[in-house]
């Protein structure tokens, strides 16, 4: 980018003053204006409102003790934390209002309109309900239930392990990247080699 400052030009005794390239600055101003306009027109959400599938479990931590911080990151503070909006809400009613609110939903790319279900959808659903009523879920015996609980537990452990592994891997990668970004020659001059990861 050429500098807009052109330095002194011919002129009587005011040639010590700086003069400016008008065209260049005009271009810049126009660009700035366009940018700000673009920022104003936010993208509108495109999807329709959806009901929550899973239970909210607002009383998940009832009767449990937790270490919390009163200052610092929102996620560490006491209350209900909303990942999407990165905010912390102090009580369940306000939390519900928040996650049902327009701002939160638009971050999920959803409008506040609900899909209009057609008569075919409803009929299909009713047929499904009928089928379910006709074939009630078979009851498990005590042993079977224990077996099922064990399997569930194992699955949960496995997934937790996988998540931890993934986290570690990502951390290592990040560290490697950081060390690589340092110029190796400079590092050699400064007298240290690659960073070692802590594990």
């Amino acid at each position: 980018m050429s500098t807009a400052y052109k330095g002194s030009e011919v002129g009587g005794d005011t040639n010590f003053r700086r003069t400016w390239d008008r065209e260049e600055y005009e271009k810049k101003a126009l660009e700035r204006e366009r940018e700000s306009e673009r920022a104003k027109v936010k993208e509108k959400p495109t999807e329709l409102l959806k009901a929550r599938k899973e239970k909210l479990e607002l009383d998940k931590y009832l009767g449990k003790s937790q270490v919390v911080q009163t200052a610092g990151a929102a996620s560490k503070q006491p209350g209900f934390y909303c990942k999407i909006c990165d905010c912390n809400i102090k009580d369940s009613v306000n939390y519900l209002d928040h996650i049902n609110g327009k701002r939160h939903q638009s971050k999920l790319n959803r409008t506040m309109k609900v899909e209009r279900s057609s008569i075919e959808d409803v009929r299909a659903k009713l047929a499904k309900l009928k089928k379910k009523k006709e074939e009630p879920e078979k009851e498990l015996t005590f042993d079977e239930r224990i077996e099922k609980a064990k399997k569930d537990e194992e699955k949960r452990k496995e997934s937790r392990k996988a998540r931890k592994k993934e986290k570690k891997r990502r951390k290592r990668e990040q560290e490697e990247q950081d060390s690589e970004s340092l110029d190796p020659e400079l590092a050699a001059i400064m007298g240290f080699k690659k960073f070692k990861s802590s594990n």
């Binding site: 009901a51 609900v114 309900l129 009928k130």
Partner: protein
Amino acid sequence: MANRTVSDAKNIHGTNPQYLLEKIIRSRIYESLYWKEDCFGLTAESLIDKADQLPCIGGQYGNQKPTEFLCLTLKLLQLQPEKEIIIDFIRNEDSKYLRALGAFYFRLIGDSLEIYKYLEPLLYDFRKLRRRLPDGAYDIIHMDEFIDSLLRDERVCDTILPRILKRQVLEDNEELEPRVSFLEDELEQEALAAAKKEKKDRSRSRSSSRVSCYRNIKTINIYFYKCIINN
């Protein structure tokens, strides 16, 4: 935001359909946890599951809390599904609470003739429903009782029902056939039999007619009992 009626809703009885529930009850519903947590983003289709899982019917209970039944009614008023959908709700045999919900909603929005047409067949449904009483306790009523109260009473489930024409008026205008009682045949036969018997032993004491009357009532009871079992 989430409490608004759908934008393409038609006015019912001259107002926004949600106004068919009184203001105070409506705002209590908007504040209730069930509304915020479970009724958010429902469609007419996903509402079916919620209606199937309803624990009871009823208006307000305890500390003026609205029941789930009222919450779902308001949801229906808000969504305003097509009439065919509601009729499907009413006609379904599998979920009695869905049927009760459909009937209640239809009573709020329908016109007199259709209400009689679609709700009267439900008078032959004798299944039990749990009803939440204002003090929070439960009692049992039957579907036919509930439908009967919808057709006759002014106030059901803490909601003022819109006025409908009396059945008699519609019959006089020849818009409706006179209703034939479920027990008509039975009663006729009984009456015939009783008359015959009376003729036969007119000379005997009068107590016999009383006995036959008693028997009449008994058979009716048995008949009812059969119907309940069949359902």
